[in-house]
């Protein structure tokens, strides 16, 4: 028996290809006769279109076709992208048209599509399209867009409110009537994006011979792309194949179905030639969905010991000009707020504001960083007012392990009552504090201050619903060569599914993971699938691989027992051979696989069905709740506002670990994204919602000198929701980052009594706050 693979810290199978330049991303495809596309996009956040003249573009060198809305097949002219997740709370579910020719509602909205022999010629021609715009005022800030006098995001809408709903439970009047202390504060978390280094990209090829359309897309969710194409274009499901090849990062925005993913296939079919479109970075800033902008106005009530009595308030969420994923992000925000604490009463009213910006859909963390920021900042304020340590007030309110499973009293986005399945919140906090030497900090701070250094510490907790349904599936097949192949629907955008899914399978056959291939993200390889988002693949695909591998193992034993004329209960599998325990008798998996292919005219051994394979679709009964604690130590220069992260410690509980090496990487990367949200990433719009920061020189991502080393300790509380005990791990690092980092900055600046209630916070903002206090 080889080393156990499940749970092992093994390097990834994906890496050699990617390290030698032999990955295949969507832009790497060069098909025969392929054309390239470029879009004409609105330069205005809001405008009426009075006319489009494509004459010069059509005549330009190399141009094969120019499409505006009126050039599309009639049934697609006014079609909008299918509405993904309806909810009765949504009153104005605006969805985007394929190409707009009446009213553009965000800067970057596509108006025309040029197809030419080269991208260069297509872009030249795009510049020649004359659009007669009548510029309209734009709704920019989401808070002011809900004012009666605000410019309308959609000119024919009654107002800018897209949805409104309230969640809550408990007796808030009693909570506030009995409070020893209350505190009310407003928070603002600013918009930011996923910004995968690979932009979006689509290649489509139509084969007239068999009437099949093949689409390669840099998507996280090839099955959602296919489903939308089928729904929108009315094509037969078995005539459409969508493949997510290597995808250069996802982080949420590539989950969603975009108009470009509909248009490129339509045009490839129309022209009878393959068509490629690769988004450039400017388009990515303009037309790839973002998230985060929210205003919270919250009031908290606590008793004399700092125990929570209740929280009430309201939140305004910016959804941009369209709502392709409805209220998913703000709904997650609303239900994430209570976190790991016993909160007896809670109520939040949410208003979703339409603004003339690109649509808002989940970005890594998906509404949770904002909620955690609001909750954790309130905890800090109350601790300070009660003169309690910030970690101690949290400890007093954490849900004890013996209360698991813990019913929260809210309904989650999966439609199920929120019940935390497992977790040891007190241990997680204690572990993060130990890792970050929280208890020794006061001495460090005193010593640093004596030398003129301003260091501070922050702590934040979170709970995250992961592993969402509906399902994911896996086929596990042993090939006649003896190699094992796993097929699954979700794409891989860096998570390492080949490695981790192989680890789930390997031990069933006593083989190393190098004997296993994983083919993912191809709708032609497995009948059904969903996608890689919501930290759901380990739970859903992992459990499916486990179930399918178990069935294949049982079948291999059954057939081998027949072949070796032995009893099934006497058989075992080691090193890819099924043998009789305590004897030399064994047969390799390759022979068993060949045996169940059958021989012409003979029955199959043991009366089994042909093929050494099985398919399972795992559907979780509810979300599995991951949790964690971040402890962050920073140094702040009060004159320049410069922040340096000195130590970042994270205790992370995502249940049972399949590969701690991979999970560490997920946590570290997610933290870096949280650092961006805390200190750097600022998507600037002018008062009319025109983007001002549309390059990486203006919108700053964390680079190596700003990103901290993250010390990670894993607490493993297996979930009973799935057979592996695993929970999602891809987003946890991002979620408490802003809350903990900004708390640490505040602590470092405590001599000036600086308060920070927004994220991100830039050096100039910090320096101004210190200066203002110093001048008081």
């Amino acid at each position: 028996m080889g080393a156990k693979m499940f749970g092992a810290r093994v390097p990834r199978l994906e890496d050699p290809r990617l390290l030698t330049g032999y990955g295949s991303y969507t832009d790497d495809f060069h098909l025969l006769d392929m054309l390239e596309a470029a879009f004409v996009r609105s330069p205005h956040s809001h405008a009426k279109i009075n006319g489009i003249d494509v004459t010069a573009a059509v005549a330009h060198k190399g141009v094969v076709a120019v499409y505006t809305a009126s050039d599309l097949p009639e049934d697609l002219r006014y079609t909008t992208v299918p509405f993904q997740v309806p909810n009765p709370a949504i009153s104005q579910p605006f969805q985007q048209r394929l190409l707009e020719d009446r009213e553009v509602c965000f800067s970057g909205e596509p108006i025309a599509l040029i197809v030419a022999d080269t991208r260069y010629n297509a872009e030249d021609a795009a510049m020649l399209v004359e659009v007669d715009y009548e510029i309209l005022p734009g709704a920019s800030d989401c808070k002011s867009s809900l004012d009666d006098a605000a410019p309308l995001c959609h000119a024919d809408a009654p107002n800018n409110e897209g949805a409104k709903y309230t969640v809550g439970y408990g007796d808030l009047d009693a909570a506030f009537a009995n409070a020893h202390l209350t505190h009310r504060e407003e928070y603002w978390i600013h918009r930011g994006g996923g910004f995968a280094i690979e932009n979006r990209a689509v290649v489509a090829k139509y084969e007239e011979l068999d009437d099949v359309l093949t689409i390669w897309s840099a998507t996280q969710s090839p099955f959602l792309v296919k489903q939308n194409i089928v729904d929108m274009l009315g094509w037969e499901s078995d005539k459409v194949r969508v493949i997510a090849p290597d995808v250069g990062g996802g982080f949420g925005p590539k989950t969603v179905y975009y108009v470009e993913e509909a248009l490129i296939p339509v045009i490839a079919k129309d022209l009878g030639r393959p068509v490629k479109w690769v988004e450039d970075r400017r388009e990515n800033f303009l037309a790839t969905n973002m998230e985060r902008d929210q205003y919270w106005d919250m009031e908290i009530a606590v008793d004399v010991d700092g125990k929570l009595l209740g929280v009430r308030g309201s939140m305004i969420h910016d959804t941009g000009a369209y709502m392709p994923w409805g209220i998913i992000s703000p709904y997650i925000s609303a239900t994430t707020f209570p976190g790991p604490y016993i909160l007896p009463a809670y109520q939040l009213e949410t208003r979703v504001a339409l603004t003339n910006k690109v649509a808002v859909t989940p970005v890594r963390g998906a509404g949770r960083p904002q909620a955690v920021f609001a909750m954790e900042r309130l905890m800090d304020r109350v601790a300070d007012k009660l003169n309690l340590d910030r970690a101690e007030i949290r400890r007093r309110n954490l849900i004890p392990t013996e209360d698991m499973p813990y019913a929260l009293g809210l309904i989650f986005r999966d439609g199920k009552p929120m019940t935390y399945d497992s977790g040891d919140y007190p241990k997680c906090q204690a572990e993060a504090m130990r890792l970050g030497d929280y208890d020794g900090f006061k001495i460090r701070q005193k010593a640093a201050r004596a030398k003129g250094h301003h260091i501070g510490i922050g702590i934040a907790n979170y709970v995250e619903g992961t592993g969402l349904g509906p399902f994911e599936g896996a086929t596990v097949r042993i090939q006649p060569s003896g190699r094992i192949c796993i097929y699954t629907g979700g794409g891989d955008s860096g998570q390492g599914h080949w490695t981790t899914l192989a680890q789930v399978c390997a031990d069933k056959f006593g083989v190393g993971i190098e004997h296993i291939d994983v083919q993912k993200g191809d709708t032609g390889k497995i009948a059904s699938g969903v996608g890689t988002f919501a930290s759901r693949i380990a739970v859903n695909a992992g459990s499916s691989v486990h179930l399918a591998s178990t069935e294949v193992r049982e079948k291999a034993i059954k057939v081998a027992a027949h072949m070796l004329e032995a009893a099934e209960e006497d058989m075992d599998i080691e090193n890819g051979r099924v043998g009789v325990k305590g004897s030399d008798l064994s047969v390799p998996l390759s022979e068993i696989a060949r045996a169940v292919q059958g021989m012409p005219g003979f029955s199959l051994p043991g009366g089994v069905e042909p093929g050494l394979e099985a398919t399972h679709y795992f559907s979780p009964s509810q979300s599995s709740y991951c949790n964690g604690t971040a402890v962050v130590e920073v140094e702040v220069d009060p004159e320049t506002g410069q922040v340096e992260i000195l130590k970042y410690s994270m205790a992370h509980d995502s249940g049972t670990l399949i590969n701690p090496f991979v999970v560490d990487g997920q946590v570290q990367g997610a933290v870096a994204q949280g650092v961006g949200n805390s200190l750097l990433e600022w998507m600037v719009y002018d008062d009319n919602a025109n983007p001002v920061s549309a390059t990486f020189a203006e919108y700053l991502l964390p680079s190596a000198p700003e990103a901290p080393n993250v010390d990670v300790v894993h607490v493993e509380s297996p979930t009973p929701i799935n057979p592996l005990g695993v929970k999602g791990a891809g987003e946890g690092g991002t979620i408490p980052a802003a809350a903990a980092i900004i708390a640490a900055i505040e602590d470092a600046l405590s001599p000036w009594d600086v308060e920070i209630s927004c994220a991100p916070v830039t050096p100039s903002m910090i320096a101004e706050k210190v200066w203002a206090k110093a001048c008081d």
């Binding site: 991303y25 690979e198 250069g248 860096g494 090496f661 990487g665 990486f696 190596a704 000198p705």
Partner: protein, 161 residues
């Protein structure tokens, strides 16, 4: 006046002779004319570093150069780093062993940047490594695995030389 030129560029030891538009940028030439798609394009404005190649041994952003500027020059791309098809270069091996990549999109630029850096500075500190790759954006790893890989590679390369 023709806007096309004949150029000859040596990439990873192989000579590519092509007639190209003068405006064709070098990354597009390498990717779409020479079909060496390991070099990636992430921003086309010189910030992300994914397209970094070695031009006569020195790093250059291939999205900020024209193909015609590379006429007669020698280029090394990510495909030319490993000693042969079976073996990884010590830097590549260190990336795998330290989880220095996730999606792999920024990786070619990271590798070319670090190859040059480790030649100039064979025994760097962590801070120096972080500064060296400060012009290469990675959105997946948080850089921790990359920095660990670079420090590990420095040790391996020193032990090997």
């Amino acid at each position: 006046m023709s806007d096309r030129r004949n150029i000859s560029v040596t990439i990873n030891g192989e000579t590519f002779e092509r007639e190209v538009e003068t405006r064709l940028h070098l990354a597009d030439f390498i990717r779409h004319e020479c079909l060496l798609t390991g070099t990636h394009v992430g921003c086309e404005h010189g910030v992300c570093g994914a397209c970094t190649i070695l031009l006569n041994g020195q790093t250059a952003r291939s999205c900020l150069m024209l193909a015609v500027q590379a006429d007669g020059q020698e280029i090394k791309t990510v495909e030319g780093i490993a000693p042969n098809k079976e073996e990884l270069h010590p830097l590549q091996q260190a990336f795998q062993d330290n989880h220095g990549l996730q999606c792999g999109f920024c990786t070619p630029g990271m590798l070319t940047t670090l190859l040059e850096f480790l030649e100039d500075n064979p025994d760097p500190t962590e801070r120096e490594v972080r500064e060296a790759i400060s012009g290469n954006l990675c959105r997946c790893t948080g850089y921790q695995g990359i920095v660990a890989a670079a420090l590990d590679a420095a040790k391996r390369l020193q032990a090997g030389s």
